[in-house]
């Protein structure tokens, strides 16, 4: 499995929050949306997948590698944005992207063309020489997404990527993800609602109270209704059978 895989992944925090026994597979060339309400466990699962947390039980793999044990091998293979964009306020848009490219193992001579390409792709050209601290929240998010995608990783993990993006930013992101998936990347995006990116997914998994509770059929006209029905049914079931 060279995409994204979680098998029985569990990580619980004091108070019971976290994820328990999550199974998830994202094949290469597919976009997979992870949807759930706030606090459902989406960010925790993404942190597990990226090695920010160690699972208490179960396994996670990115591009076939254990993210906690693979050292720097994942750098060129993975692009991600979880919670905050990798954008330093004192650096310009271009400098931030150059830094991100270097951190993801792009060779020095290739960095300028890599940065130029993503500046155009995500509509950031006019912010290239603007310090990140002077950018709007949406443009900082766009910068973080550019940093995560510019090295054309085989595995992409984005937590609520449309946060603060304007409609044009959402469209640019959606197209960028479709291009990368078409080129063979495994893409996992999370969202607390069925936004534009979730709607382009090939597969949709619903997470609630730290567990995978089912999937949705992309393209279904009643997607939102089906989502809330699943979550509501799960909430009712948990009330009847306390954990």
């Amino acid at each position: 499995m060279s995409g994204i895989e979680a098998v029985g992944a569990t990580r619980l925090f004091a108070g019971g929050a976290g994820v328990r026994g999550v199974d998830l597979r994202v094949e290469e060339g597919r976009i997979h949306a992870l949807v759930g309400l706030n606090g459902a466990g989406k960010s925790t699962l993404m942190r597990l997948l990226l090695g920010m947390l160690t699972p208490q039980s179960g396994t996670v793999r990115l591009a076939g590698l254990d993210p906690r044990a693979s050292g720097t091998a994942l750098g060129a293979l993975v692009g991600h944005l979880v919670e905050y964009p990798l954008a330093y306020g004192e650096l310009t848009g271009r400098a931030n992207l150059e830094l991100g490219a270097r951190l993801h193992g792009v060779a020095g001579p290739r960095i300028p063309q890599t940065v130029d390409a993503v500046l155009d792709e995500l509509g950031l050209r006019r912010y290239a020489e603007v310090r990140a601290r002077r950018m709007s929240l949406g443009n900082r998010q766009r910068l973080g997404l550019a940093s995560a995608l510019q090295h054309h990783p085989r595995v992409i993990v984005l937590d609520e990527p449309t946060n603060a993006l304007d409609p044009s930013g959402v469209i640019l992101l959606r197209e960028a993800l479709l291009r990368r998936a078409a080129a063979g990347a495994a893409v996992l995006v999370s969202s607390h609602h069925l936004d534009e990116v979730a709607r382009i997914a090939d597969d949709i998994t619903v997470i609630n109270a730290g567990r995978v509770i089912g999937g949705l059929t992309p393209g279904d006209r009643e997607l939102e209704h089906a989502f809330f029905e699943l979550v509501h049914a799960d909430d009712l079931a948990r009330e009847e059978v306390p954990a």
């Binding site: 925090f13 942190r47 990226l50 090695g51 920010m52 947390l53 160690t54 990115l62 993210p67 050292g71 720097t72 994942l74 750098g75 060129a76 993975v78 991600h80 944005l81 979880v82 919670e83 905050y84 964009p85 990798l86 954008a87 330093y88 306020g89 004192e90 650096l91 400098a95 830094l99 991100g100 270097r102 951190l103 993801h104 193992g105 020095g108 973080g144 940093s147």
Partner: protein
Amino acid sequence: MTGFGSALRVEWRKARASRVVAATALLTIAGIATIVLSFRGVAASGDPQLIAKLGEAGAAPGWPGLLAIALQVSAPALLLGITVLHSWLAGREFADGTVTGLYALSVGRGQLASAKLLLGVLVAAGMGVALAAVLLVGGLLLGYGPPATADAAVLARVALLAPFSAVVATPVALAATLGRGLLAGVATGFVLLAGAQVLVVAGAGAWFPVAAPALWALDPASVSGAAVAVALAAGALVAALTALVWRRLQLDR
């Protein structure tokens, strides 16, 4: 380029663009220079009460008096400035939320932490050289003439005091890491400073690593080579531990 080379390059680029690093270095040097030159003004005033407060060495004329005051003032002031540097370099990633972006990279977090610590020492070295230069110019402007060999040696020790202090202050970076922010590092710097004062008075002297740089700069003959080696080794050990904590870091709180 190696992973560590890339890490150092990345951290240098951030530090170079940062106002925090430049302002900390500038304010620390300007503060020390202002205090030292003000005290020299007091010594020159001839007021016996004020001169008594400066002590015999500080009231001495010319270079010896200026450098005696500089050594007294520089040790704690540099440690405080370096505390801000180490704390910011390590703690900002948590405060700014950028730490989540430092996973699954071609450069290891341990390498990034090592680069931050080395950069702290290098910036401190630059601060030391700049401080020595400011004191040299100040002494020349006060009409002391070129420093004698013994006075030049003290100036060199003032320059070396800064990077030496940066090495023994590595617990600040470890605290900023464990505390997930800047404040834990800053608080640790204050504890180290106060601890050094208390332990020196209690007789531990240069065997307490944080006190070693100041005591060595004041009087190298009174500090054994072993005590200096212990201080440097302790700083390096904490630096290695900090890098290990970064390498194994989990974002679980």
